[in-house]
């Protein structure tokens, strides 16, 4: 999966959890500023783990501040083809 593809998929998953316009989900946007509170973020991470069949370790999850961080973490955890 390319980074762009992951990004697109994550936008979809975030929007499934909360009604956030796509333009708010730029790589630099802080998740909190986009309107995701701590519980929303937990739910999004859960959906991501389910969808991508990956497990995001706590230390990596805690490091996610922006939407871009989220894409990076998923990219790192996806098995390289």
């Amino acid at each position: 999966m390319t980074r762009a593809e992951i990004e697109q998929k994550l936008i979809e998953l975030v929007q499934k959890e909360k009604d956030i316009p796509q333009e708010k989900l730029t790589p630099e946007t802080l998740l909190a500023d986009a309107g995701l509170d701590s519980l929303d973020a937990l739910n999004v991470l859960f959906t991501i783990e389910e969808d991508f069949h990956i497990s995001i370790p706590d230390d990596k999850a805690r490091g996610i501040k922006t939407f871009g961080d989220m894409v990076t973490v998923v990219q790192e955890l996806l098995p390289s083809v």
Partner: protein, 406 residues
Amino acid sequence: MSSRVAITGIGIVSPFGRGREAALEAMRDGRSGIRCIESIDTTGLNCRIGGEVPAAAHQGMFRGVDRFSRFALLAAEEAVEQANARGAIEPERLGAIIGTGLGGCETLDGGFRRVYKDRQPRVPPMTIPLSMYNAAASAVALNFGAKGISYAPVSACASGAHAIGQAFHAIRGGHADAVLAGGADAPLTFGIILAWESMRVMAIDNEHPQSACRPFSADRKGLVLAEGAAVLLLESMEHANARGQAILGEVAGFGITSDAGHVTDPSVDGEARAIRMALRDGSVADNEVAYINAHGTATRANDLTETAAIKSVFGSGAARIPVSSTKSMHGHAMGASGAIEIACSLLALNDGFIPPTLNLDKPDPDCDLDYVPHASRPARVPLFLSHSFGFGGMNGVVALRTIHGL
């Protein structure tokens, strides 16, 4: 400090549907709300009946919370609206005390089913905040802006009565001007029903759900599980009068005791002490009690013990007090039942009748009080008691005045 505590709002979600009118009609007609369970797949269960809240009464409303919290929110909303309470009570002086016996069963059952049955590696992150016992109290506080005393009393089947009693004391003690108080439970999940089946106290009569619950009848079969919520807006009399709000009733006294005996076998002593404490707490004379809404679970242990407790308190006067079990109509909604029964009693009594005990076809010779069998009875009741006796030997008795006793 306020010495008197008024009821200015009543909200209820029950097997009869959403709202006061549905419950009042069922009480008046003596109609059972117990039916075949539809909200879950009951394949593999012996007991497939319950006092289930109809889907149309709650589906799609207050989304994103557990079923028991949704019931509490709908009941609280109805109470708040009836009491015209939005913006009328200072948030710091408004509380939310919502009891529950089992909390968010739907969330827990669903979460663990994923792991144990579906072999999924994880449980959804909202499992804890949705299923915790104070989730309903929290949801009510959050939605209705209650920033004062808020928590969840947990005492099995007495939780709802304890919530209303503790809220009454909190207002009387000056800790709040008003409290949204009641109980909520939604135990009709596969695992919880199985657990109750193992206790062998369930009325298993899938072909005749409406006659399955037979309190005080010699041919009783046991209890019928149910779900729902009721929430009262309790308000200091001064506060309610100052804003010109209609008073629907009054909490007069509260008794709360523990058997410290057996975990599931009730005791006459513990129950009788709770009744006496409620009377004393409200300075109510024995002969003022004109109706008792019984705990009336339709188990032999309860029916006999409760009858004996009433007789031990009221002596020969017990014979003149009508006692009925509305559980014969709405089933046993665990921690919600005390609140549901207080709400149903108030609605019926304010309307001028006593709700009946259905299915009392074969009077048990060991239960010899006036149980108002089969049909509601026109009556003017100024003051009544509501009994709740929970597993763990925890008892709650609330004394209330109706509009005829204010």
